[in-house]
Every structure is written in C-alpha cells, then in structure tokens.
C-alpha cells in the first residue's frame, strides 16, 4: 500500500480481479464486500461477528488478491482504530460488525469524526440489545448510527434493501466518506446480509469513483493548513508520508491541527463537522418512491422491512387504499425536505412506519407532522409480514 491517494492503485488485470463484472447469484454480505473491492478498498480491519462474518471471510480471501490488506484484530475497539490509522495513511478503509461490536466501535467513531478520517463501518443488524438473538434479524441500531458517539458530528448512513444495493451502496459509502471526510455507515440487517439474489456488477470503468481532495500546494512549503476547509467546508487531505506537516488529535484543534482549547475554537470546529453534512443533505439524501404521487397513506420503511412494505402497498392498492411507499436509502440524512413537501400537498392523511425496533424511525417522522404515525413493530427476531402492515393500514 503506497500512502498517496485513495484512488484505485491497480490497473489492467488487477482491476479485473477487483471488479467481478457480470451477473451473479450472490449473498448480500458478499455483495457488500465486492462493492467495497470495486470501489478501491485498500484496507479492512475487523473482528468477525454474526451476521456480518461473511463480509470478513470474503475480504480475507479477496483483498490480498488485489494488493489490499486484511487484518483480523483483537476486538472492535482496535478494528475501528486500525481503519482510522489506515485512512490517514491514504487507504480506503472499512470494517464490518454487528450490534455488540458496533457499540464497542462508538468511541472511535467520534475520533474519526473529529480527525475527519474517511472510513466506512458496516453494521449488519441483529436482534438487540446486548448479545440478543445473534442469528436473527434486527433494525434497532438506527439511532445509534446517528448519535452513538458522544458529542455533535455529522455522518451519513445507508440502508440497503437487497444484495444488489449492498454492492451499490458499498461503492457509494466509500465515495461519500472520502468526499466529506466523515465516518459513513452501511446499516444492513440480517435478512439482507444473509439472502442470496441476483447482483449485476458493471464493467470497472462504470464504477463511480470520488477521490479525496488533495492539497493544492506541494509539500515542504510549510504553508499547508491540514484543517483549513474549502468553501464546501471540507479540508483537502494530506496523507502520512507525503511530506506535509500534519497533526491529528481528538482534542479540539485549529486549522493547523494543533490543540486549541477554547470555546471559540470548539464552536468553529464542531459547527463545521455538523454543517458539512447538514448543508449538503439534499445532495446526499437518497430514497425510492413507489406510488407516492396520489398517496394518502404513506408507508416509510427501510432495509428488509421495506420489501414487506412494498408488497403491502401493492396489495393495499388492490383493495382501494391509496397507499404509497417512501423507502429510505439514506437513514441519515433523513429525507425531511421530501416529507415536508408531501405534507404540503395536503393530501396525506396518515403515515405507517414498519421497522424491526420499537419506533426509531417513527420518532423522526413524528418530529415533522401532527398527523397520525402508526407503528408496526417488533423488537427483533422476525421479519414484519406484508399482512401485518396492511392490517395496521386498515385500522
């Protein structure tokens, strides 16, 4: 691994090895790993945990084939620390875990945020809290992804609904992390991670690649300020070994990167960490609409539950219920603008929010409206069926 840029460093045959172009019948976890490889993943550090283990396994086998590094760590605290280290050395880096490991990673998620070290954390959600039901589905880490580490900071979180989307969003997540210099999450769930479905992998030249911004001045001038943002609030990134003088710390720091322990410096830094995502939310947010144009009942869902929700909406339409689906592809940022626009039409009568937790996304919807927000929940262990969603719609 050369500490230069995060661009894919391999060409020709190696590139063919990285991108397995073709049509596959592939496991969701494997599709996530293949998406990361296609996007130029250089480094993985992790500790295997059900139901994310197949991501580890695949990358342990595949990363060394394409010149990347795979490290099995002693635990998840170290895994998170390792991908931050690799990131500031210039590597595209990623880890994968599930709830118990996700909790252990939270301290260093905050470190990645304040260091502005781009990295991707995959959480394949299982029934929680604690060890919970290790082999069964959950979707209860939604708020933890947003608020899990202490303090205010901006992140982006994606929620794939199929193995194809595991592949696509792994690419998207690595690009977003580099573009905004933030920790970025892929919030899968056990059902999506452990289901096998068709996955189409495009030719290598069609894989989108968004590089990190690099300093405009050459190293050695002594003028480069590693935390001085451009207009988009994101500072260009110099990597260890490139010859720039850089200093990284978890303490509040100035544009030089040196500790500056004042309220004024803190306000400037933390506002920027939040604003670089907040002010770009409309560019980052992703969702899919299904039969929303004339909908009076709006179902909002994500991940495996959105598959049931889509089926339920189709059935509801046949019964004459004017239902539509807003499927969240980004959990964070939350599509507030779109929901407000739907409310402004005056047509919406109610929301229905099916999710495998006790109301984490529902809380976000309730924040935006006085209309009824019906819940369809279980705390984990089983999928929510289309029948149950329709039953709640009819209530």
């Amino acid at each position: 691994m050369t500490p230069t840029s995060a661009a894919p460093k391999v060409e020709g045959e190696d590139l063919a090895a990285r991108v397995q172009t073709g049509t596959h019948f592939m496991l969701g976890d494997h599709a996530c790993a293949e998406g990361a490889l296609a996007a130029g993943l250089d480094f993985f550090a992790g500790y295997p945990i059900t139901p994310s283990t197949e991501i580890c396994e695949r990358l342990a086998h595949r990363l060394p084939e394409v010149g990347g590094k795979f490290v099995q760590m002693e635990d998840e605290l170290a895994s998170m620390a390792a991908i931050i280290g690799a990131s500031v050395a210039g590597a595209r880096s990623l880890t994968a875990t599930s709830g118990p490991g996700f909790s252990l990673m939270m301290e260093n998620v905050g470190l990645a945020a304040i260091m502005e070290a781009p990295c991707v954390i995959v959480d394949v959600m299982r029934a929680s809290p604690s060890t919970g039901l290790p082999t069964a589905v959950g979707q209860a880490d939604v708020l933890q992804a947003r608020w899990g580490s202490h303090g205010d900071y901006g992140i982006v979180a994606y929620a794939p609904s199929s193995p194809q989307e595991c592949f696509d969003l792994a690419i998207q997540a690595l690009n977003t992390a580099d573009q905004y210099r933030i920790p970025t999450f892929i919030m899968m769930d056990e059902i999506i991670g452990h289901m096998t479905e068709r996955v189409v992998i495009p030719p290598a030249e069609d894989i989108p690649f968004v590089p990190r911004k690099t300093p405009s001045e050459p190293p050695g001038e002594g003028t480069f300020l590693p935390f001085k943002p451009d207009e988009d609030l994101v500072p260009p990134m110099a990597h260890a070994g490139q010859g720039y003088r850089v200093h990284f710390t978890g303490l509040t720091h100035d544009e030089q990167g040196y500790p500056r322990l004042t309220a004024a410096a803190h306000e400037k830094l933390v506002n920027r960490l939040v604003d670089k995502v907040r002010l770009n939310a409309e560019k980052i947010v992703m969702y899919e609409e299904y039969l929303l144009d004339d909908a009076e009942t709006i179902v909002i869902s994500f991940g495996c539950t959105a598959r049931s929700a889509r089926h339920a909406v189709t059935l509801a339409r046949q019964e004459g219920i004017k239902a539509g689906l807003l499927r969240l592809i980004t959990l964070w940022p939350f599509p507030e603008t779109r929901i407000r626009a739907l409310l402004d039409t005056g047509r919406v009568k109610e929301f229905v929010v099916p999710e495998i937790n006790l109301g984490q996304v529902r809380r976000e919807v309730e924040r935006l409206t006085q209309l009824p927000v019906k819940r369809v929940n279980n705390p984990g262990g089983a999928m929510i069926t289309p029948d149950l969603i329709i039953e709640v719609m009819e209530r």
């Binding site: 049509t23 019948f25 452990h194 289901m195 039969l291 495996c304 598959r307 049931s308 889509r310 189709t314």
Partner: protein, 188 residues
C-alpha cells in the same frame, strides 16, 4: 409514477430439509441461480441460520417468481423436499394444500394420510451414478422434473457454472438420473 405492480400470480415457495452433509445448501443455491440467472425469473435463496445449521438439521428455502419479490422468506411451501425424518416431522405441517411432497424414501417414513407424495431413493441413486456426494443433485433433478419450477436447461447451466470443473460430468449425470426418474413417475 411507476405503475402498480401486480402481486405475482405464479410464485413458488420451495423448501428442502436435510441434515448437515447432504448438500442441501448447494441444491437450493443451484435452484435459485437457475431461476434468477438462466430462466429470467426473480429468485431469493435463504438458509436456516443458527447453531442447528452446523451438522444437525437444516433447511434451505427458495422463492421463485415472475415479478419482483417483496417478502423474501418461505412461509408456506408449495414444494417440500425432506431428506430425513426430523425434517419431515418439522415441515410437513407447513406444506401448502395441494403442494408437492418429495421424500428420500430410505430415510423418511411417511404417515399415510391420503396425501400424494413422491418417494425417491436419492442416496442409492447417487451411489449408482458414481458417488453418494451427489445425492443433492439427484434430488434437484427430481424436483425440477416433477415441478418444472425451473427449466432443465437453466438447472444444467447453473450446475456447469457452479461446481468444480472436474465434477461437472458427475453432477450432470446425477441431475439426469433424478430428472428422468421424475418423468417415469409421471408416466406411471
């Protein structure tokens, strides 16, 4: 606005129950792959996941549909294949009325209740083909011949693109043995 989808008119839910070592994971994978990649259908493959999937009883599920698959899990199979007694006891009640039940006749005892089922000595047939290890593909051949949930050509393509090259011939023979027995059973 995207048109409303129709709820699939021809959706199949297939469950294969067996014990560790019988190769049911590969059988389910081949079935899903055949449908999804070579028959132009939608297919989702899942397997039971838990401590029991290591050496003990396990099952694999495949949903095959002409349109987008929402809910991806099997709840009421219309095709059930059981390769040992515990799988029969556990899954027989879930089989859809009028569904197809296929059993490994040397390993499963059926309580006769008038329900039509299809017995097949899959393990012995695999031994006759050459190796016991292809029992799963004999079963796949029989399932495909009996139900037509995927085409023979698609299943054979899935075999050719999945198993190790030196075992393709053996696996295709195993598939043919199962498939042809299903054809004979239909004539009988």
């Amino acid at each position: 606005m995207a048109p409303s989808e129709t709820v699939a008119t021809s959706e199949h839910q297939i469950r294969i129950g067996g014990f560790g070592g019988q190769g049911i994971v590969l059988a389910g994978m081949l079935l899903g792959k055949a449908a999804s990649l070579y028959d132009g259908k939608e297919a989702v493959f899942t397997q039971s996941y838990g401590p029991e999937a290591r050496g003990g009883a396990s099952n694999v599920d495949v949903v095959i549909s002409d349109s987008t698959i929402g809910y991806p899990l099997v709840t009421k199979p219309d095709v059930l294949v059981v390769l040992f007694q515990e799988a029969y006891t556990r899954f027989r009640p879930s089989l859809k009325e009028g569904g197809t039940l296929i059993i490994e006749e040397d390993l499963v005892h059926v309580e006769e209740d008038g329900f039509k089922y299809w017995p097949i000595p899959a393990t012995r047939m695999a031994e006759e083909v050459g190796r016991r290890i292809v029992t799963n593909v004999v079963v796949l051949g029989y399932l495909v011949g009996k139900t037509g949930v995927v085409s023979r050509e698609a299943a054979e393509q899935a075999i050719e693109t999945t198993v190790k090259e030196k075992t393709i011939k053996l696996n295709l023979s195993a598939f043919a043995a199962g498939f042809e027995r299903a054809e004979q059973d239909d004539l009988a």
